[in-house]
Structures are given as C-alpha cells and as structure tokens.
C-alpha cells in the first residue's frame, strides 16, 4: 500500500521500506541527521499509514470509555487523549489517541499494523451501544510536524493551532473541505517524538499541497520512520506490536496514568487482581560500553537474567546505545546491569523509560 505522499518521497530520494504492508520512507538522507533536525529545529513526517476511525452516536463516549481504561467523560471537548485498548486479560492490544470532537463524536487513531484489528474489535464490542463506527483510514492523510520550531512554522499556516494546549485539537475543515469528512479534519498538538509539534489529519486530496507548503519553510526537513523510531525510544514512548503485543498490561508497560478505576472497562476485573502484584516494569537502559541494545537482548545482573528488551538503538542525542524493555520490578533506576545482544555484551545503566 502507498500513502498519497508516495511520489513525494520518491522525488526526495527517500529509501523506501516495507512497513506492515506499507511502502514508507525509512530515511531521506541519514537517520542521525534527521533525528537531530527534529530535536533542534523541525521535521515533517508522513504518518498516513496510521488509521482513522470515527465513532459517532448518542453512546459514543460511554462506548469508548468501556473499550478504553480511560474515562473520557473526564476530558473536555477538544482534547486528544492517549489511551490503550485492553483485552479481557487486561493485556494491551493497541495504544491510541482518542480525539474528543464532541461527547457524541470521537476520532480514534490506531497504529498502522493494528487498524483492521481495532476496527474489528470495536465492531465486535458494539453490542447495544448506540454508535456508528466508520473506518475512514483510506480517505485521510496524516502529517506530523515535530520539533522546537513547530510553533514558528505554524504561525503563517494555522495561527489558531498555536493557542492549543498540549494534546488538544482544532477543526480545520474550512481550510481542507471535503464532503463527509469535515468532523475528522483536524490539527492536534500531539506527536511521537517527545518534542512540541502538531499532527494534521486531513483528506487525501490536500496531502501533497500541505506537505509541500510545510517543507517550503527552510527550518523544516522531511523525516523518515527510522528517526521516528530513535526519537520515540529516547523519550521512552511505547511502540505497539513491539514493546507490547497483547502480552503486557498498562501498569507493567508504565502507562498506569491512563487508568481510571471508577468506571467499568474491558479488562478491569483482571487488572484489579494483578495490580498489586506486578512482577515486571518497563524501563530503559543506557549503554556505558560500546554495546547497542536491541529488541530481544537479555539483561543480566550478577549473571542472573533480570530483564528482556523490546526496543533498542543507538541514541543520536546521547551518542550511546539505549534500550527499552521489561525488568524485575524490584530493580532500581541507576543500577548497573549487563546487556547481552547475542553478538555483543556490555555494561548499561538502568534508567527511567524517558532517557533524553
């Protein structure tokens, strides 16, 4: 599959790779240079492979607050709320942003690889809830502008977006009109890099023009999925399908702040049983030696296995190897551990997931 921006990536000489069936740019010039561009200035990502599902109807808020462990009635209209779908076992199926357009309208953004699965999960659990669920993923593009200069860039294009709180949204359908897609056409102050920034969810027909307009600013460069991965890892942000894949609950995955216990939700019963006996915790490791932690690396303390990594890379900001994974919950941040990749082994410091 290709996004509406495929030809633009090719024109920019991007290296294209397969990402869950999508032909996506992994890099334009260099992952490390693109990474620094986002940390220092601003970068633009095509993330149109991510899904867009509209949930509307009288019960939209109750329905989604039953599917997610987050009580969405507690957030005001216009908020973009991070949460995760749990199965009956309380294991995370996918994390998501739920955009609260109104109490009767939510636009949820599942990950690319899980969009069909989440759509089926929503439909399966609809039961007596009065909601209409529409998968509009193939009609919408998503562009992410990220970095400290994002606000500056938005001044000319969408000055109103600069007034948004963190994780909030504004409707921009007047600028990008498309019949039937008006409610879903938004700019939100969200992202996946740990930097300030904005995400544009707009109808496909506007993707190329918006991409070009944003790139016409000298402070903005196109950024591939390679840097997106190193950027999110430095900040300890979870990657669905890799850091969890229906095998971790939100407490061990370090996102217990998404839980509201005073409402009913799928997985609650099992999570209540487990919550006081969490054996593993999501943590980071920062290499002290020339080792680059990787997905699947084993972490040892005094020769004994104490953790397993689910993500790892070379951190362009720290110029060291970093990793993320699950560790025995009695380990303390700051401890010395050994990471073994199977190929190499090296000393690392145990860290909070956010390492930069």
């Amino acid at each position: 599959m290709r996004t509406s921006l495929f030809e633009e990536h090719v024109k920019l000489n991007a290296k294209m790779v397969d990402f869950h069936g999508w032909e996506m740019p992994i890099q334009y010039s260099s992952i490390i240079e693109e990474h620094r561009q986002v940390r220092q200035k601003a970068g633009l990502f095509d993330v149109s492979h991510m899904g867009d599902i509209m949930i509307e109807g009288k019960d939209a808020q109750d329905f989604l607050s039953y599917l997610l462990p987050t009580d969405l009635s507690k957030s005001r209209i216009g908020k973009a709320i991070y949460s995760a779908y749990l199965n009956e076992n309380a294991a995370m199926i996918d994390d998501t942003i739920a955009n609260k357009i109104s109490e009767e309208k939510f636009l949820v953004v599942p990950n690319a690889a899980t969009t069909d699965k989440i759509y089926a999960w929503l439909v399966k659990n609809k039961k007596d809830f009065k909601v209409k669920i529409s998968n509009i993923s193939s009609k919408m593009s998503c562009l992410a502008l990220q970095g400290p200069l994002s606000h500056e860039v938005m001044k000319n294009l969408h000055p109103e977006a600069n007034n948004l709180d963190h994780f909030a949204l504004t409707n921009v359908s007047e600028m990008y009109p498309s019949p039937g897609l008006e409610d879903a056409t938004i700019v939100s102050s969200t992202g996946y890099t740990g930097e300030e920034g904005f995400e544009f969810i707009i109808p496909n027909e506007y993707a190329v023009a918006t991409w070009k307009k944003l790139l016409s600013n000298a402070n903005v460069k196109p950024i591939g999925l390679g840097a997106r991965d190193t950027l999110r890892m430095e900040k300890g942000l979870l990657l669905s399908g890799q850091d969890f894949n229906e095998d971790r609950d939100p407490i061990e995955a370090g996102v217990s702040w998404i839980l509201d216990w005073d409402h009913d939700f799928i997985g609650k019963k099992n999570l209540e049983i487990r919550k006081d006996n969490i054996k593993r915790r999501f943590r980071g490791v920062v290499a002290e030696d020339k080792v680059i932690p990787r997905n699947g690396s084993i972490v040892k303390l005094n020769g004994k296995e104490v953790g397993i990594l689910t993500s790892g890379t070379f951190s362009p900001s720290l110029s060291k190897g970093i990793g993320l994974g699950y560790f025995d919950s009695d380990l303390k941040v700051g401890m010395n551990v050994v990471v073994s990749t199977g190929k190499t082994e090296g000393k690392c410091l145990l860290s909070k997931p956010r390492m930069v």
Binding site: S30, K290, I292, T341, K343
Partner: protein, 125 residues
C-alpha cells in the same frame, strides 16, 4: 547505488581493490545503504590470518549489527583506524572507506569474485 569498475565483489556485499598482492577490503555502497547510519565498526586484528568467507568483523548501524566476511584468504596488514572514530565515513563513500588491507595468500581466489556487471545484476534482483 554506486558500483565501481575495477573492484571485485562478493555475494555478501564486500569489495576488494587489488594492488599487487595486497587487497583493500570494504563493504559496498549497497550494503551501507541497507544498514543505514553506521555507528560502530569492529575490525580484525593486524596479523590475523583470515580465510575467504570467514567473518572479518562487524558493522553496527542505528538499525542493526551485521558481520562482514573476508572476500579472500590472507594476512591482515593494516586496519583503517579512522573508521573507529568516524564510522560514518562508510556511509559517505563506501569505496574510500576501506576496512583492512591484507596480503593475499592465493591470487587464484580472485577469479571466484564478481566484477562490476555481475554485482550490479545481483543487487538489482
């Protein structure tokens, strides 16, 4: 992807440049592009005897760690120390960034390596 004339190539994406009985060894432009940004290299030891097809070292990028193999049998004379400090030189120009030089033991092995045209065909597949 750049493939240079006058060099010999392997299926595992290494190249050699022959000067008499001394061969410089590196990885190809195709290989560096597949790896993405290279951040560490592990080079062989000077004096080591390496047989054709044996692991000569490791290149590690942001994305992955890959072994590289000696295209030819011989004794390591010199390693490119610059790469230890600046491994990105391999990304910048894979054919300038030689990894090690070796005195080759068996010149007839060269005939089993690919020339430019055959290697180009291989990477186009």
């Amino acid at each position: 992807m750049i493939v240079k004339d006058g060099l010999y190539y392997t299926k595992t994406h290494e190249w050699i440049r022959l000067e008499g009985d001394v061969a410089s060894v590196g990885i190809t432009d195709f290989a560096q592009n597949q790896l993405t940004d290279i951040v560490y290299v592990d080079l062989p030891k000077v004096g080591a005897m390496i047989k054709a097809g044996e692991i000569a070292g490791t290149v590690e990028s942001v994305k992955s760690a890959e072994d590289f193999y000696s295209p030819i049998t011989g004794k390591v004379l010199e390693v490119n120390k610059d790469l230890e400090k600046s491994p990105e030189l391999i990304n910048k120009d894979a054919y300038q960034a030689w990894m090690y030089k070796m005195k080759i033991s068996n010149p007839s092995e060269v005939s089993s390596l690919m020339k430019k045209d055959d290697y180009e065909k291989l990477i186009k597949k």
